[in-house]
């Protein structure tokens, strides 16, 4: 399974999760785990998703999620899981 980490950081507002989830559902991306927290009034969300079924190019997903983030007023990043595993697991 190719796991991808999506992070959303920004000012809290109504419908952030809904909009991100709609995008993911439209593109056949399955959500495996969601965690969220508010740090210093900032909305902080992390999703672990499975991008196996999507037909979209990874670079395009990164770009479209970025654009979606801009429209909501948050920063959305989409990164392959390995960078975090490499850094935080021996």
């Amino acid at each position: 399974m190719k796991k991808t980490i999506i992070t959303v950081v920004g000012k809290d507002t109504v419908g952030i999760i809904a909009k991100v989830c709609t995008y993911l559902a439209d593109n056949q991306i399955n959500i495996l785990d969601i965690s969220q927290t508010i740090v210093q009034d900032y909305f902080n969300m992390m999703m672990i998703v499975d991008t196996n079924k999507t037909t979209k190019d990874f670079a395009l997903i990164v770009e479209e999620l970025g654009v979606l983030g801009e429209s909501i007023g948050v920063i959305i990043k989409c990164q392959k899981e390995e960078i975090f595993n490499q850094m935080h697991r021996i």
């Binding site: 672990i48 670079a59 990164q79 390995e82 960078i83 975090f84 490499q86 850094m87 935080h88």
Partner: protein, 454 residues
């Protein structure tokens, strides 16, 4: 499974602390291009590099996009050109034609530097080595992206003082040839002792003859990450300090290892090494000098600087070797002046002198790097500074290097602006006493004894 705090930590390092992969450098052997016909040789070099590197920049950008980690530079290193051009080049001018070919192919594949316009003359010089060295001022003035290096000494062979003398003159000539651009040519010219075959960092990268046909080497960086980590443990003991540097270096290096493996897989080129260097940039917060200040110094250059740097360098290596299967290149903390805002500040404040920098090079990677000196400095004085630095490398069995920029038309107190990653620098004073008779002796300094260490 990875948790939200770990993800946030990684992204914070990238976004706020300037964590990046400094360079993916593709090493390419040009030994199979050797031909006695200069035109044919240039064609072969062009095609070999173009074919090997045409996807390098694109691949780098893909990896960068997928992992969300900036990969600042994509570069190429080639076999030392003195070896490749020996059969075809009958003059220094002939070698310049190869420099032009390298520059052209670098532009076409989109890399920002190509290293390997080099000669290895630690014991003696062939005719080809001599031609190449003589061609350096012209080659660096007519090209934009070509980097040059000359290895003039090693622990096993001693120091070739004829080459040291020549390099003093060559640096001056290069400065003259590029005086309209503040002698920028000298920023692309390094003089080495014990030059490594697999260094991915410019200007000193070349693809050694002991290497495979092609290889991927990666240089990581992250002074800002180390500094921020140390900011959280102010006042703690050396044990805590060392542990923190090691852990941070581990994390930084793992990113480099991941990128190196991916690049190797996608380009179908074997993975060589990860270079564990703390390489600063002029960006605020991306400074090695700032780490020294965080360790407890008012400015880099204050008493204690050499010890702090020795500690930093060693802990970076200790953390890094655990993170990567193959470590190589220069691996250590770089202390260039113009590329590090903290160093520039220290020089401007009068805290850091050329002599202190020389002492610092005894315990850190590389050497006197990106230091602007007055344009009227004598060639023999530059040779004397090179000889001192080479001696440190030779005796301590480490790589040392000199990248000095005598800025034509400028003197102490003035500033020189190189732009981009090369930064800017206040011109530093040089000891005015003569070493002419020493430099003019000619011959070699013998290799040091390897016993009776003191």
């Amino acid at each position: 499974m990875i948790n939200i705090f770990e993800v946030a930590e990684t992204n914070e390092m990238i976004e706020k602390e300037n964590l990046d992969v400094r360079t993916i450098t593709l090493g390419i052997s040009l030994l199979d291009c050797i031909d006695s016909d200069l035109k044919l040789l240039n064609e072969k070099i062009y095609h070999k590099i173009y074919e090997a590197a045409k996807d390098l920049v694109k691949t780098g950008e893909e990896i960068s996009g997928e992992y969300g980690i900036p990969i600042v530079n994509k570069r190429i290193s080639v076999t030392p050109i003195a070896l490749v051009g020996g059969a075809a080049c009958r003059s220094a001018e002939d070698f310049v034609s190869i420099a032009n070919t390298l520059d052209k192919v670098a532009h076409e594949v989109g890399v920002n530097f190509i290293g390997g316009y080099s000669a290895l003359v630690s014991k003696g010089m062939t005719k080809a080595d001599e031609f190449l060295i003589q061609s350096i001022p012209k080659a660096l003035s007519v090209t934009e992206r070509v980097c040059s290096s000359v290895n003039v000494g090693s622990t096993k062979t001693g120091i070739n003082m004829d080459a040291v003398k020549m390099m003093g003159e060559i640096i001056k000539q290069t400065a003259e040839e590029t005086k309209d651009a503040d002698s920028l040519g000298c920023a692309k010219l390094v003089v080495f002792c014990n030059a490594p075959d697999d260094n991915p960092f410019m200007a000193g990268a070349f693809h050694g003859v002991t290497e495979a046909d092609k290889i991927i080497n990666v240089g990581v960086s992250g002074p800002g990450v180390v500094k921020t980590a140390l900011g959280r443990i102010r006042g703690e003991s050396f044990e805590v300090l060392c542990e923190t540097i090691k852990k941070t270096a581990f994390k930084v290096t793992r990113v480099g290892q991941l990128v190196a493996k991916e690049a190797s897989k996608r380009l179908n080129v074997p993975f060589g090494i990860v270079d564990l260097s703390l390489a600063p940039t002029p960006a605020i917060g991306d400074s090695v000098a700032d780490i020294l200040c965080e360790i407890g110094l008012e400015y880099a250059g204050a008493p204690g600087t050499t010890a702090a740097l020795a500690l930093l360098n060693d802990q970076v290596k200790k953390g890094g070797v655990m993170a990567s299967s193959y470590v190589g290149g220069l691996s250590g903390a770089f202390i260039p002046v113009s590329e590090d805002q903290g160093m520039i500040d220290a020089v401007s404040a009068g805290a850091l002198t050329l002599e202190k920098l020389e002492a610092m090079t005894c315990v850190c990677s590389v050497g006197l790097d990106m230091i602007a000196i007055p344009g009227n400095t004598k060639a023999t004085t530059i040779s004397g500074i090179i000889a001192d630095e080479m001696a440190i490398g030779m005796v301590n069995q480490k790589t040392t290097a000199v990248r000095l920029i005598p800025v034509i038309g400028k003197g102490v107190g003035e500033t020189v602006e190189f732009g981009g990653l090369l930064g800017y620098a206040p011109i530093m004073p040089v000891n005015q006493y003569s070493c002419d008779d020493f430099v003019n002796r000619g011959g070699r300094i013998p290799a040091p004894i390897h016993s009776f260490k003191n």
